[in-house]
Amino acid sequence: MGSSRSSLRRVPDGQQLLQETGFSAAVLLRLHQRFQFLDKDSRGHLRSEDLEAELSENPIGDRIVGAFFQPGQETVDFPSFVRVLAHFRPTEKNRTRDGVQPEPANSRNRKLKFAFQLYDQDRDGKISRTELLQVLREMLGLQVTEEQLQSIAERAIQEADLDRDDAICFDKFRKSLEKVDIDHKMSVRFLE
């Protein structure tokens, strides 16, 4: 631990990120190594091509890559990279709730928000029918007809949409995932 803390100096904003994200020093170091590996030309930041190369087979790869970039920006530096990944840190049970600190990125609420924003590309706080159709099209690909996609989207909106505005808002999104153990489903065990 001591050695990893001291070598943390090579990581930009190391100490602050440690606090902010809740990652351990060892994990942060490892992520930094990975960052440098992805950063093929050692520019100190990643462009979307760097990430896309890893996700070429993922049907929603573009969305995931998009989530790393602030609107309007073309690059992502290490601190922002880690901040995004912090959403996927496993939740600790015995977290002290003092209410003063801001909600950590790995809380159930923020995890869900992160997923929700991947659907909600225009960021208006709702998953519209077109947005849902787009996701379904990406996930199901060419294997199904447009009609089938339409009927599934129709059904999904009908099921979740109680106030009949033809869209799914965050609350309804959260409600439909109530049964799912989000702490478990949206967490990655980061290696040290």
Partner: protein, 519 residues
């Protein structure tokens, strides 16, 4: 004399001719009537688990049979392993919640393999110590016999666990942990049992023998799985061609899985693991191929068979208790009970400490308690105890072992089985959330799976999601084409889920509508 005719030429009393099938039918009828009875009597099934009542009925029947000086049928080991156990295991394996199972695979494996090993050696060693210290009549029991005893008594029983846990509706995580453990520890039990029995006949045991024992554990478990997978693929492949002859579809499923079980048992591989592997492999492909009616038939037949088998097992357990050879040894029985409980608790706490370092969702104190407390012993232990060779010298030992095994079974099924429901209430353990399957949930879950696969790939950390994705891809590109007929082979999961839901809703609409919509 020979020419003397009977009053009625054909009529005759010949009970021996029908004796066997008639008595089997009677037993099954009795089992069904009991089951029915317990469901009709209000509230009793809330207090006492059904399995306790069934054992109690078995005890009564055994007593009656003994009183009229007939020979009661004891639970024959062959009958149990070849006819009563497979339906229960197939039902469990075929409807295994695969998602929960694979996500907790590591934990389940550690509990099943390391936990059972620990229990077997701890109980075996401790009981050997007890036999030495006490001047009780147990000094002649050898270390190997004690270890054999430990390996029999340490296996958590899938039948008993299922019977009790089905009723209390505990949350999915705890259910799959205890249940998965009970299914997978069969491999360990089989190996330990056969190993110690072989060792006890050999004169010397070397380090090499012990090493071969470890190797044979892998052979038994992996071989069992391999046999199951082969039959599963065969079953899936066969179901591809049944579209013109629908009535035999269910039978293919049953036959292939039963043959997987038997083929594994031929080589002393783990039949239970083979059966589970067969069910798990076969199900997705078979369900895509067969008709909806055949699917319903398979489902209800499995449920019916397993429930009847389970009922029979518990009744037989009761009957055999009255009949079986007994040799009550206070010290041995009491210490067995104490060490069974102690080793289970120590094992679960110790292993959880290690496992929690690797799990995303940690096991809480409550979880540990329920896992430790839910480790019921059942008919497998009893049947294995019966299997112990009846050498002349060890006749007392066998009786003593059987009595101790029965006591432990009764203690776990009665005391732990009856108290687990109030304890779950008292500790406020999360219950199963029952609700309708929703299309949103299905879409979002798949979306999250893709998301997590993506995140793992970005981190360069190849974990659970990464391998699942690889397996799905492999399945989609190579396997499905061969095992699923027609256009359904390229149908994504979401579409089949949607179709199934539509079908269910349409059927419900028809059922309720015909009555409600009449003017």
């Amino acid at each position: 004399n020979a020419t003397k005719h009977k009053a009625f030429p054909v009529l005759e009393l010949n009970y021996d001719y029908v004796r066997m099938p008639f008595e089997i039918s009677l037993w099954i009828l009795l089992a069904l009537l009991m089951k029915l009875g317990f469901h009709i009597i209000p509230r009793i099934s809330h207090i006492v688990p059904e399995s306790c009542l069934l054992i109690f009925v078995g005890l009564l029947i055994g007593g009656v049979i003994k009183a009229i000086q007939e020979k009661a049928p004891v639970m024959d080991t062959k009958l149990f392993f070849l006819y009563l156990l497979p339906p229960i295991i197939l039902d469990a394996g075929y409807f295994l919640p695969i998602r929960a199972f694979t996500e907790n695979m590591g934990t389940i494996l550690v509990f099943a393999v390391v936990g059972t090993l620990w229990n077997a050696f701890f109980i075996g060693g401790m009981m050997f110590a007890v036999c030495q210290i006490e001047a009780a009549a147990a000094a002649h029991v050898s270390l190997l016999s004690c270890l054999l005893f430990g390996s029999i008594i340490s296996a958590v029983d899938p039948v008993a666990v299922l019977a009790v846990f089905e009723e209390i509706h505990i949350n999915e995580l705890l259910h799959i942990l205890v249940f998965g453990e009970s299914l997978l520890n069969d491999a360990v039990t089989v190996v330990l049992y056969h190993l110690f029995e072989e060792f006890s006949h050999a004169d010397t045991v070397t380090v090499g023998d012990a090493f071969l024992g470890v190797v044979s554990f892998f052979v038994v478990s992996l071989g069992g799985i391999l046999v199951g997978v082969i039959y599963g693929v065969l079953g899936a492949f066969t179901s591809r061609f049944t579209s013109h002859f629908r009535v035999i579809e269910p039978l293919f499923v049953f036959l292939y899985s039963y043959m997987a079980y038997l083929s594994a048992e031929v080589f002393h591989l783990s039949g239970i693991m083979s059966l589970i592997a067969c069910g798990v492999v076969m199900r997705p492909y078979v369900e895509a191929n067969i008709s909806h009616k055949s699917y319903t038939t398979i489902k209800y037949f499995l449920k019916m068979w397993s429930s009847v088998s389970e009922t029979l097992i518990f009744i037989f357990l009761g009957v055999s208790t009255v009949e079986g050879p007994h040799n009550w040894n206070w010290i041995f029985v009491v210490f067995t009970l104490v060490f069974c409980l102690l080793s289970r608790v120590l094992g679960v706490v110790g292993l959880t400490f290690i496992i929690n370092k690797f799990r995303i969702v940690k096991l809480t104190k409550k979880d540990q308690f329920i896992v430790a407390y839910g480790g019921l012993r059942g008919a497998i232990a009893f049947s294995l105890g019966y299997l112990i060779h009846q050498d002349e010298g060890s006749k007392d030992t066998r009786g003593m072992f059987l009595t101790a095994i029965i006591t432990v079974i009764f203690f776990t099924v009665f005391v732990q089985g009856m108290t687990i429901r109030p304890l779950v209430e008292l500790l406020a353990v999360k219950k199963k959330k029952e609700s309708k399957p929703s299309i949103n949930e299905e879409i979002h879950t798949q979306f999250l799976d893709h998301l997590l696969t993506g995140i793992e790939d970005i981190c360069g950390h190849y974990g659970h999601h990464h391998w699942k994705d690889k397996l799905n891809r492999f399945n989609k590109t190579y396997v499905k084409k061969w095992l699923i007929a027609g256009e359904r082979s390229s149908e994504p999961q979401l579409i089949s889920f949607y179709n199934k839901m539509e079908m269910k809703q349409a059927m419900m609409l028809v059922e309720s509508g015909s009555a409600a919509k009449l003017p």
